[in-house]
Amino acid sequence: MSIFTSFHFDGQTNDEEVLSVIHRHWLNILASFVPVIAMSFLLFFGSSYMPELFPSLRQGEGLKLFSLGKNVFAMIIWALTFLIWIDYYFDVWIITTKRIVDIEQKGLFSRKVSEAKYDKIQDVSTEVSGILQTFLNYGNVMIQTAAEKEKFAFTQVPNPYGIKDTIMKLQKSHEHHP
């Protein structure tokens, strides 16, 4: 039994089991989070040092205005965190016992779902290029299909060779037991 039994996606059939759920490599989300981390540091140090530099922010209306500024900054950080998280976490490739599902999430208003059945897969290739990709073992997996969407690309995913092997095994098992 797969460790992904608690996973469920729209359009999943009753006799279909999720074998793997693949997100982009963690380095990808880390890079997206750099502005949020920088803003959090700015909020933290600004809260500590701004009243030292500007004494008018320590009392009365100045203090209230400063609190409002901090609150607005925190609201922006909070919403940005989740916008980045949605873009990362819901942009996913799902390998099931029957097919590969590619869910492309771009921001809040663009979501595209496509799928490829194993009997439609013609070729699977991997691409790992660069020092970081080689050392951290992440890269792209490209799938050529005879389906409506001809090319599937798993971009910046961890363990691309392992993903390729899994897909090839599933493809072969479907050739023998369609």
């Binding site: 608690s6 996973f7 729209d10 205005l65 925190a74 609201m75 919403a79 949605i86 996913v92 979501r111």
Partner: protein, 75 residues
């Protein structure tokens, strides 16, 4: 001047609330694991509501007329 500022603030707040609703919708609708969905959705909603309410409380506690008067007198 103060009423203009309040209208601008309320518009910005409305934009933030609508964005938060869209985020919550995505968290609820497209989550792959239902257990995690409720935790993340609960955390997001709780903190967002707290931030919005505290923001409104601070904004309406400020004497904007006095503040604008002071700022215009300095300049």
């Amino acid at each position: 001047m103060v009423s203009l500022l309040t209208i601008f603030y309320l518009l910005m707040l409305l934009f933030y609330i609508v964005t938060s609703i869209f985020i919550a919708y995505h968290l609820a609708k497209f989550a792959l694991v239902s257990g995690v969905k409720f935790i993340v959705l609960g955390l997001f909603s709780f903190i967002s509501i707290w931030l919005i309410l505290s923001n409104m409380t601070i904004f309406f506690s400020i004497d904007w007329a006095d503040l604008i008067y002071q700022l215009t007198n300095i300049s």
